[in-house]
């Protein structure tokens, strides 16, 4: 059976977004306000 060899298993890291990126997204979400006034959607970012 064909085998696949990996060069160095210790160096394999799973790719995942950093904590800072997730925090940024959560803060962005908290600060983003969407309002609909007379059928028009308004976006505002309150920092």
């Amino acid at each position: 059976m064909e085998k696949f060899y990996v060069e160095d298993k210790k160096n394999i890291k799973k790719v995942a977004a950093k904590k800072e990126t997730i925090d940024f997204l959560l803060n962005y979400s908290k600060s983003l306000k969407i309002q609909k006034i007379k059928g028009i959607t308004y976006e505002s970012n309150i920092n």
């Binding site: 060069e7 790719v15 995942a16 977004a17 990126t21 962005y28 979400s29 969407i34 976006e43």
Partner: protein, 193 residues
């Protein structure tokens, strides 16, 4: 066993103002989405950027109440990421690339066969000098040399074309090269790069 809240319920909660649900959604799909992006762009920083832009689009769509794919959250997010990856390659005019590792260098198997501009100029000069010298050869020798070197004909073909035997054609070629060397010496021409 911990019971996992369905994506659809988390989305609903988030739309209703529960920010914690978004955190759960991001963390739940972080590895899968990041892995997908990384498999295309092969760069951790760019993966991070595209991941961030993907969720910014997700957040804006959910907050605007435009999300209508209940139960298919991950495929929807993947589609957004996929479009952003295409945008990235379009913007940077880059194709997915292969990067060598410590034990394998891609340039050991891929070569640029083209001469650089300096070598190209030298080659052109040599070709021009040689063409002038070939013109000075006796006509029978010149014909054989041109047919052999410039038209890549075999001695059999040369023999048939010139109406002489193969041995005569070989002899003419031999004298053509000897005379060519003499001409090069006489003219003090250097035919190397």
């Amino acid at each position: 066993m911990e019971l996992q809240i369905a994506d659809s319920l988390l989305i609903q909660n988030y739309i209703n103002g529960d920010e914690k649900s978004l955190e759960t959604l991001i963390k739940r799909h972080n590895q899968r989405l990041s892995g997908f992006i990384y498999s295309k762009v092969k760069d951790r920083e760019i993966t991070e950027d595209i991941f961030q832009d993907t969720f910014i689009k997700v957040i804006r769509t959910l907050k605007k109440g435009r999300y209508n794919e209940e139960g298919k959250f991950l495929p929807w997010v993947m589609r957004i990421a996929h479009n952003l990856i295409i945008d990235y390659f379009r913007k940077s005019s880059r194709l997915p690339y292969f990067e060598g590792s410590n034990t394998f260098d891609i340039f050991s198997v891929v070569h640029d066969e083209k001469l650089n501009i300096e070598k190209q100029l030298i080659k052109e000069q040599i070709d021009e000098d040689l063409a002038v010298l070939v013109e000075e050869l006796p006509i029978d020798q010149r014909d054989v040399l041109v047919m052999r070197m410039y038209r890549n004909m075999s001695f059999k073909e040369i023999s048939e074309n010139t109406g002489v035997s193969i041995n005569t054609a070989l002899g003419r070629m031999r004298y053509a090269l000897i005379n060519l060397r003499k001409l090069i010496d006489e003219h003090n021409i250097i035919l190397t790069d």
